[in-house]
Symmetry: C2
Subunit: 229 residues, 2 copies
Amino acid sequence: METPVALLGGTGKLGPGLAMRFARAGVPVLIGSREAEKGRAAAADVTAKLQAVAPGAAAVEGTDNLDAAQRGRIAVITVPFEGQPGLLPGLAEALAGKVVVSTGVPVRFAEGVGPVHADVAEGSVAEQAAAMLPGSRVAAAFHSVSSAELKRLSRDVEGHVVVTGDDAQAKQVAFELVHLLPGSRPVDGGRLHCARYSELLTVLLLSVNGIYKTHAGVMLTNLPPESEG
Amino acid sequence: METPVALLGGTGKLGPGLAMRFARAGVPVLIGSREAEKGRAAAADVTAKLQAVAPGAAAVEGTDNLDAAQRGRIAVITVPFEGQPGLLPGLAEALAGKVVVSTGVPVRFAEGVGPVHADVAEGSVAEQAAAMLPGSRVAAAFHSVSSAELKRLSRDVEGHVVVTGDDAQAKQVAFELVHLLPGSRPVDGGRLHCARYSELLTVLLLSVNGIYKTHAGVMLTNLPPESEG
């Protein structure tokens, strides 16, 4: 795998958790933020937490999103979906030719109702990313992975991670990234337009989480064992 | 549970499988069809298959959809989603006051692409059913259950079945119906608007099925054991 992996908008919920898991697996990470200073603070926090449990982890460095996009060999978009239109167009040149993995879920929390999806004109957050990064190879993954579980380093994150995409190389890289999380197994969910279903599954998981007070993940049944990852 | 259970449009893919499982669990079933004769033929087929493995199963009777709706104490809509608008309005009176479980998935198979969702103006097939049956108590369930696996009576259908709905009693009945399938456990997925996510998850499963040549189901991880159904 080409490294470092850039986490764009990596100071939010998913970014630090993925940074910990990727770095612990030996993959150097760049945490990008709107302000380099915030990226550095998040990286310092991740590094401190890793030091306690995985002193041999790879480096986690903080910077601004453009620098992360330029220096990263692979990029993972971890900005909340509403922030994507303000972020990606300015990074299109830096990300040209690279594999970019979309993780966004189009969800909002409606007062008295709970999690509901938001409509995305392109069909899914992943397709929107692909439209904004015409020179990149976009796959989608990690929608169902709980940020809280990622950060709990003492436990594996058991479950399947659905990977979708129209570019075989991008999907392959996404599979490799999923394999960096102990307990997680990638599943090929099909073309990029199927990212919509994987994204909305997370809205369902968030509804379940609210009811059962948990961080539910997903496992598919009846998959042929030899086809797993 | 009040019986019999009516399977509306029950001669298709899901209906016979559910009929076998429900009847084997001791619950009498009415298979409704556009033509009573087709309903009777499907019921005879199910009865013959059950006789071989479960001689003590409850009765499976075939009839037309209106008669099934009138005599059924609970109804499960098993007609393909495109057929729903032509079926339900004529049954609204017969189904008034009853629990009705929607199982439809808005999917079509696009040439060279595979399974893609169809837009439903009401948001989901379940919400469309609720709109067409204003006097009924609608829940949604069974979206992720494979018809092929249901019919393979030698095996349990392992997995979670997401149940959604706005009516607590309807959800409770749907939970009880799920418990009739050995290996299946109901999960509360939230309000009826969340049926959309559960329906679209099945489109994802169909995509996975096409890739892995299987009949995938779904299991949620991290659910508190005591909360399971």
